[in-house]
């Protein structure tokens, strides 16, 4: 550890101990990762998507590997709001980092219901609004591709969530991600999270059918990283710069240097997803990598890294 780098992050008014988050849906409810790393390395933890009712999720195959990436179509499988409150919130209460609960639903009412029921719990720092899941028939991405709907649902959930921070997770499956980003910020989002996965398909040419039971899935992993960096930079320049609304950058981050790219592009913090499947201690290694970089370059505060792209 180097003591000369201030690794803390001001994340839309929330003081984080570090810049690395777990990405939603890739780290369960936190109890799975403790065997592999010190959870104290995290700046934030984002839960799997929670819906009002439990969801079974999609049939298998739910994943398929691609060149330098993978497709998933889990289908928002989760234990449902009641079970989450009973079984998982106590575990999350023991975490030292900021806990964000990812919210999903089929209708605006369902999103509001989750936010309303959870807003009284102290152990939750905020919500991540999932309006970008490509793997469910209703809700999800349908809300996230139209700026008018993005603004509407952001406003409603912000109101229902009491004083909790609201982070909106944006879909890259749009013509202009700045348009949805702007809609979320103008509607009161405290932070933006980008990007979610890209809609994609892999075909089994022997059977002539898609590999995934859901036919399509979301592409993640190193394959999408350069596009994600570009989108973070675009949103930073066109929407959030100077507004104080931080960006949580994600998409294929595997190493400290990947994370530094996102921060230079405009991210205040980064989320790690697919990399945790391969290396469960990824978050810890990435945090150390960022610190190393800053130390070598004489950067004494992460603030100076965000948006430093020449």
């Amino acid at each position: 550890m180097n003591n000369n780098v201030d690794m803390s992050v001001d994340f839309g008014g929330l003081k984080l101990a570090g810049p690395v988050f777990t990405a939603s849906g890739t780290c369960g409810y936190a109890d799975e990762l403790g065997d592999f790393m010190d959870l104290g390395c995290l700046g934030g933890f984002i839960t799997k998507s929670i819906t009002v009712e439990p969801r079974k999720g999609n049939p298998t195959p739910r994943i398929v590997e691609t060149d330098s990436g993978m497709l998933n179509a889990i289908g928002l499988a989760n234990i449902g709001l009641d079970n989450f409150i009973e079984e998982k919130l106590p575990i999350l209460g023991g975490m030292s980092c900021a806990v964000f609960v990812n919210i999903a639903g089929k209708s605006a009412e369902e999103y509001i219901e989750v936010a309303r029921r959870l807003c009284g719990f102290e152990q939750i720092a905020g919500f991540e609004l999932n309006i970008s899941c490509p793997n469910v028939k209703k809700g999800g991405i349908a809300f996230g591709t139209d700026p008018v709907q993005v603004a509407e649902i952001t406003k409603k959930v912000k109101k229902a969530g009491g004083g909790k921070k609201l982070m909106v997770k944006l879909s890259p499956n749009v013509t202009d991600i700045s348009a949805t980003a702007r809609a979320a910020v103008e509607a009161g989002a405290d932070a933006l999270s980008l990007i979610n996965t890209f809609m994609a398909m892999v075909i089994d040419i022997e059977s002539g059918k898609p590999v995934l039971a859901n036919r399509t899935g979301g592409l993640s992993g190193p394959a999408i990283k350069p596009i994600a960096v570009y989108m973070v930079n675009k949103v930073y320049n066109e929407v959030t710069k100077g507004t104080g609304v931080p960006i949580l950058g994600s998409g294929g981050i595997r190493t400290g240097s990947d994370a530094v790219e996102f921060m230079m592009a405009g991210a205040s913090a980064v989320a790690v997803g697919t990399a945790s499947f391969i290396e469960p201690a990824s978050c810890e290694k990435i945090a150390a990598g960022i610190e190393d970089y800053c130390s070598k370059k004489g950067i004494d505060s992460l603030k100076k890294l965000t948006g430093s792209l020449c």
């Binding site: 849906g25 890739t26 780290c27 369960g28 799975e32 990762l33 065997d35 592999f36 799997k48 079974k56 999720g57 999609n58 049939p59 298998t60 195959p61 739910r62 994943i63 398929v64 590997e65 060149d67 330098s68 990436g69 993978m70 998933n72 889990i74 499988a77 992993g221 190193p222 697919t274 945790s276 499947f277 391969i278 290396e279 469960p280 201690a281």
Partner: protein, 306 residues
């Protein structure tokens, strides 16, 4: 001891037949203790991304197309044997080259190292209170069943019979198959030697052993066997249609049965939720998804929806 992320050294990597291999992963120090008591049916996730492909002329024709794919995920493998020495544990994995990851695995040499996460999942339950253990395997499902047969040596009072099946002789992951068939009291396979297990081999095409599905032989055996059904435990590992038929036979005969399942897995530790197994939710008629990695890979056959 708890699962974790460890480095293993390759002790050996030996080819068997056309496309099967046995690889020995050696663990020393603290990891030797972690792996010393792995159970048959448990597995590891191996990172093969940094292993190199075999030379072009050593890649089987049917794999040339997929060989060059850039892999990023680990691959899950269950064990076929374990050897515990002082300060060193060697776990053996029986595998088949089917794609870019297993091809890379086949190119590992003694002394190379790989990153291993494990031991993962739940193994087979032991046949407490039973007098007969019936082991059914198909193709690469041989690994965990061989491991189990070795473990069952601790139950000398139990009668053990293995039903070994594959499509054809070349899909049987055993050494010296040809001269082993038709020995007195059943067939003989070196892998089961010393385990006190009677063995019956069958192939779908009849190229070795008796002709037909391994499940037919199991069924015929049960029909002529006078053993009390509640005293039998069936263990099975192999292709899903075979497991479905074994489960069906076990249910109709009212016999306890455990099956080891296989699913696409990204992580193996419950993070990704990829490896869903549809299971019955009690007697409700509804079903739920359990995770092959954490809830399995061994399941009670009666709870799985095939």
């Amino acid at each position: 001891m708890a699962k974790g992320s460890f480095t293993a050294t390759i002790g050996y990597n030996k080819r068997i037949g056309k496309s099967f291999y046995k690889i020995g992963l050696e663990f020393s120090g603290a990891s030797a203790e972690v792996f010393a008591d792995v159970k048959p049916g448990q597995f590891v996730e191996i990172d093969l991304c940094h292993a190199s492909l075999p030379a072009d002329n050593k890649i089987p024709g049917e794999l040339c197309d997929s060989a060059g794919r850039n892999i990023i995920l680990r691959r899950p493998f269950s064990f076929s044997d374990i050897a515990v020495e002082k300060g060193k544990t060697t776990v053996e994995i029986l595998y088949c080259t089917v794609g870019p990851a297993s091809l890379r695995m086949s190119n590992l040499e003694a002394g190379d190292s790989v990153s291993v996460i494990g031991p993962l999942g739940n193994g087979f339950g032991m046949p407490e209170g039973k007098t007969t253990a019936l082991l059914v395997l198909g193709g690469t499902g041989a690994g965990p069943i061989i491991h189990l047969a070795k473990q069952l040596k601790n139950y000398p009072q139990i009668q053990k019979i293995a039903f070994v099946g594959a499509r054809s002789v070349e899909d049987l992951p055993f050494e010296k198959i040809a001269d082993c068939i038709g020995a007195e009291g059943g067939d003989y396979l070196a892998e089961f030697s010393g385990t006190d297990t009677q063995t019956f081999v069958s192939t779908d095409d009849g190229s070795v052993g008796s002709k037909g599905f391994v499940t037919d032989i199991l069924y015929r055996y049960l029909k002529q066997s006078g053993v009390e059904r509640r005293e039998i435990m069936v263990y099975a590992c192999g292709p899903e249609p075979m497991l479905a038929r074994v489960a069906q036979i076990a249910e109709s005969e009212n016999i306890d049965c455990q099956v080891s399942l296989e699913r696409r897995m990204a992580c193996g530790i419950g993070l990704c939720q990829s490896c869903a197994v549809e299971c019955k939710a009690g007697d409700s008629g509804q079903s739920i998804y359990k995770m092959c990695c954490k809830d399995g890979p061994v399941f009670d056959a009666s709870e799985v929806v095939f």
